[in-house]
């Protein structure tokens, strides 16, 4: 229908030009017989925040899962810092610097906050380093240190989840629906932290249903519709077109 196929990863003119940190090249993925990604191209450079937008069922979460190794790609490539890591398992990708904070709360609900932080040490940081950074950024976590993570409020749990992105010093941070079920004020605060993480040179790929929440901090945005990147560009350009893209009428 739309004769135009999306341009490859380097399409955004406004994006900075260093070689991309994370790249999905022509990735296809399926659940059983149903293909959900029909050749997705995405790239994130160091220090860049890329917003991945799109309607329900477009394949946003699947794209993140392919990038983190939790969902297999049928074809295509996953590149990390120029290395081909297609088919690597989540554990190896995590150790190579990919940090996915999954949809819902990315915490272990029955473990205490302290034990959750201990679980962040597998990528090579000491327990003290992690606790120092996490407690400094989110002082509330220090107060709750011995409480089961599941007993905290949604915002506090999301802070704990985000602490992994802060404290483990990843190359790429993948965030899935950070705002889900949270008050707008809390969301705004969390995204401030995300912007700060990016300012240290971390590439951030954010999936978000509520475009307004993320377009404010994004450097670049891509809109995924039915498993294809339909549109890419600067956040301001896309903002105006979003409703048309979401509702599916071609422009």
């Amino acid at each position: 229908m739309t004769g135009m196929t999306s341009a490859s990863g380097a399409g955004g003119v406004t994006a900075p030009q260093p070689p991309p940190l994370l790249e999905l090249r022509d990735v296809r993925a399926a659940y059983g017989r149903i293909t959900v990604l029909h050749g997705v191209n995405l790239s994130v450079s160091a220090g860049q925040v890329v917003a991945l937008l799109g309607p329900n069922g477009a394949g946003k979460t699947t794209s993140l899962n392919v990038a983190a190794g939790t969902h297999p790609a049928l074809s295509g490539q996953l590149m990390l810092g120029g290395r081909d890591l297609t088919g690597a398992n989540p554990r190896d990708l995590a150790r190579a610097g990919v940090c996915l904070i999954p949809e819902g709360r990315g915490v272990f609900p029955n473990l205490s906050v302290r034990d959750n932080l201990l679980m962040m040490t597998f990528t090579g940081h000491s327990r003290d380093e992690i606790e120092t950074i996490a407690f400094e950024r989110f002082p509330i976590l220090a107060q709750r240190a011995n409480q089961p993570a599941g007993s905290m409020s949604g915002g506090e749990q999301q802070m704990l989840a985000l602490a992994r992105g802060l404290a483990t010093d990843p190359a790429v941070l993948l965030l899935d629906e950070l705002s889900m079920g949270l008050a707008p004020l809390v969301v705004a605060r969390l995204y401030e932290q995300v912007a700060e993480i990016a300012s240290h040179g971390v590439g951030v790929l954010v999936v978000e249903q509520f475009a307004a929440a993320v377009l404010g901090i994004a450097d670049h945005a891509a809109v995924l519709v039915r498993g294809r990147v339909e549109r890419e560009g600067a956040p301001d350009e896309l903002r105006a077109e979003l409703s048309a893209l979401y509702l599916g009428s071609s422009t």
């Binding site: 229908m1 017989r33 149903i34 029909h38 983190a68 190794g69 939790t70 398992n89 989540p90 554990r91 995590a94 150790r95 940090c99 996915l100 999954p102 990315g106 915490v107 272990f108 609900p109 029955n110 473990l111 034990d115 201990l118 679980m119 962040m120 040490t121 597998f122 990528t123 992994r164 039915r226």
Partner: protein
């Protein structure tokens, strides 16, 4: 006072063993999310292996201990993790439960195979010849002292491991969210391996310590675990200190009951059943948190067609008639079980298949039905059959009361406890009176069972009873089909999918659960009565917990949502096993292992064997010529055997050959047709010239979208 102290010390040292075993259970549960029913059986295997090394082959004790605890137990733990539990990691509670129940049943069968149960074995206690230690008026043996020290060391060690180390956090985290563990760079598989190795080692320590105090018997050792279950439930399956408290309560209770319970004919069973009673109470009294572990997907429940089920029911009756006309009197008693076991197995369909309630006491309930029929139907009165069904249903409703509070593993434990209370205590009682009502079950032994009378016609030979049971299996299958197609069936499935949603839609959980437990128990009771009639005489052991395990396993393998499962389970247990066992002792041992192996194979085919067999024979049903030839061939075989031209085994093998061949031919023909037709049907004729396929919709959608 001295006696009190002595029994106290015995109680504490037993408690120490329960604590070690119970903490192993808690460890595997908190770190893998699997409640290991075979935990005690692993301890039993360790005790037997230790016996073999020391008493059998004369190895020195320290070397044998090292071999068992540092080589065999970890190896076994790793094997279990790799072969048994990893394949069902993503499946629901019921499936994981089946795996460990299958292991329990399989390990008992293996150990009976390797170590002849008719030969007595015993293990010496540690430092048996050393003097006991005096403490005040009582003494404590070295074995008891060592046991208690081991328990304390285990307690401290586990605490440090789980809550003080990174591996411990990794192990606990992998129950919460395995996927997230991978995302943090940790290794959930390693965590599971460590958990299974440690868990098996703890079971082995417990097994070796307790074996000298009891006889070395496979079932008895495996089932000592009930006491450890109780201890673990005191700890709500997660707290190690409370598990130790629970172990002390159970250990001392058993010991003091031995010491102080008055001697009469009613109470010895109570002592044996005490841990199970306590387990039942503990399950009821303690609050339970929501069961842990996510990713359980409820499988869809197929709707059986009216026509198909009626044909199937007709086939059951014809099969019963044919068998009855061919078999001799002795064989009729053996193979009659096909239909009575079938009815009992069918009771799982509404309960476990539709409503999702796991019950391990269906055979015990069948025992109640058999006992009621034996006493009330002494002259074959038909109303007594109704009474047997009603009484069993009432017993089932009683089980449902606690079931309202329990689900998943807890419900399985509750029904296990119930089965134990029945077979250790209630079934062993002589007749007794409660409030003027005389109750007699098996009168402390066996009771004779009469056949039914149908309007003055007394059914008492094996062939008549077989047909009678076949008719009931057919009727029960139809009833279950009607249930699935009706409103109540839909309610049960809604309840299985989400109890909360069912309640918020205005459903009454208590009523629905009681109704389904009662219904299912009624069916089981009917099956029990039919079984009793065929056996002519029944005793409590025939309805024990252990005897019920194969029934549960085969029913799960058949597929808990398939109406055809009654006949399938009956055929497997009452038909194929006797056929194979006829080949000799080796084959007999193999058959006792088979339910366990089949249960372990569940991961390969979670929809059940019945669905697979049915899809295989659908091709035969569509191909009228093949169906006709098959019918004629079977009828001819039947006629030839009646004329004594063929002997029984020849008929059996030829019939089996005909059935297999018919399926293969029909499928091959259909495959060829499909291949020739599939390639060139234009899109607009899909669903008309050839059948509509599931993938067609996707292909069309893709085509329209321009993909």
């Amino acid at each position: 006072m001295e006696q009190f102290l002595t029994f106290g010390i015995v109680g504490l040292s037993t408690a120490a063993i329960y604590a070690v075993i119970g903490s192993g259970l808690v460890l595997t549960y908190t770190t893998t999310g699997v409640f290991n029913f075979a935990h005690g059986a692993a301890g039993m295997m360790a005790a037997f292996a230790y016996w073999q090394l020391t008493e059998g082959w004369g190895l020195p004790v320290p070397l044998a201990l090292i071999l068992v605890l540092a080589v065999l137990a970890p190896g076994f733990g790793l094997l279990v993790e790799r072969l048994v539990l990893r394949p069902v990691q993503g499946m629901g509670d019921a499936e994981r439960l089946v795996m460990t129940v299958a292991m329990l049943s399989g390990l008992i069968a293996i150990s009976r195979w390797v170590w002849d149960p008719n030969e007595a074995r015993s293990l010496p206690k540690f430092f048996e010849n050393a003097d006991s230690i005096d403490i005040g008026p009582a003494t404590i043996t070295w074995h008891q002292a060592i046991t208690m020290i081991v328990a304390v060391v285990v307690a401290i060690g586990l605490r440090v491991l789980l809550y003080g180390t990174r591996v411990g956090a990794e192990m606990r985290a992998s129950v919460d969210d395995r996927a997230l563990v991978g995302l943090t760079g940790a290794n959930p598989v390693r965590a599971n391996k460590v958990a299974w190795i440690l868990g098996t080692q703890l079971a082995a320590i417990g097994g070796i310590l307790i074996a000298p105090a009891v006889t070395l018997d496979a079932a008895q050792l495996s089932l000592l675990i009930v006491s450890a279950y109780t201890a673990a439930i005191f700890g709500r399956l997660r707290s190690l200190p409370l598990t130790f408290v629970g172990a002390i309560v159970v250990g001392c209770l058993e010991s003091y009951l031995t010491g102080y319970l008055p001697q009469n004919q009613y109470l010895p069973g109570l002592r044996l059943a005490a841990p199970a009673l306590l387990l039942f109470l503990a399950l009821l009294v303690f609050p339970h948190r929501r069961l842990r572990g996510r990713d359980t997907k409820a499988r869809p429940v197929p709707v059986p067609s009216v026509r198909g089920t009626l044909l199937f029911a007709g086939a059951i009756v014809v099969f019963g008639l044919v068998l009855a006309s061919l078999l001799g009197e002795g064989e009729l008693i053996t193979y009659g079980q096909i239909f009575s076991f079938g009815v009992i197995a069918l009771s799982y369909i509404p309960l476990a298949g539709y409503a999702g309630q796991i019950s391990l006491c269906q055979l015990s309930v069948a025992g109640v039905g058999a006992a009621v029929w034996a006493h009330a139907g002494g002259h074959g009165e038909l109303w007594a059959l109704a009474l047997a069904v009603v009484v069993s249903a009432v017993v089932g409703a009683l089980i449902a009361l606690p079931a309202l509070r329990l689900s998943g593993v807890y419900l399985a434990l509750g029904t296990t406890a119930f089965a134990f209370i029945l077979d250790r205590w209630i079934f062993t009682l002589p007749s007794f009176e409660i409030g003027g009502l005389k109750i007699s079950l098996f009168d402390g032994g066996a009771v004779d069972v009469a056949g039914p009378s149908l309007f003055g016609w007394h059914l008492d030979d094996g062939s008549e009873l077989m047909v009678f049971a076949a008719v009931w299996l057919a009727l029960a299958s139809i009833a279950v089909m009607a249930l699935r197609r009706g409103r109540f069936g839909r309610q049960l499935i809604a309840l299985r999918d989400s109890e909360a949603a069912y309640a918020t839609l205005g459903g009454n959980l208590l009523l629905a659960k009681m109704a389904v437990f009662a219904l299912s128990a009624g069916i089981a009771g009917l099956g029990g009565a039919l079984y009793g009639m065929q056996q002519r005489s029944v005793s409590g052991d025939q309805f024990s917990f252990v005897a019920g395990l194969p029934l549960y396993l085969v029913a799960v393998v058949g597929g808990l949502t398939a109406v055809g499962n009654g006949l399938f389970t009956g055929l497997a247990l009452g038909g194929s096993f006797p056929v194979i066992a006829a080949a000799g002792t080796f084959a007999q041992n193999v058959t006792s292992l088979m339910p366990a192996l089949a249960g372990l194979g569940l991961a390969k085919n979670p929809d059940g064997a019945v669905a697979e067999v049915r899809s295989g024979y659908e091709a035969v049903g569509r191909n009228k010529p093949v169906l006709g030839v098959l019918g004629v061939a079977l009828a001819a075989l039947w006629a030839l055997q009646l004329q004594d031209v063929l002997d029984g085994w020849t008929t059996f093998w030829l019939a089996l050959l005909a059935l297999v061949a018919a399926q293969a031919i029909a499928q091959a023909l259909e495959g060829r047709q499909a291949r020739s037709a599939a390639s060139d049907v234009p899109v607009e004729w899909w669903g008309v010239r050839r059948g509509w396929r599931r993938e067609d919709e996707e292909v069309l959608a893709r085509g329209i979208a321009g993909g």
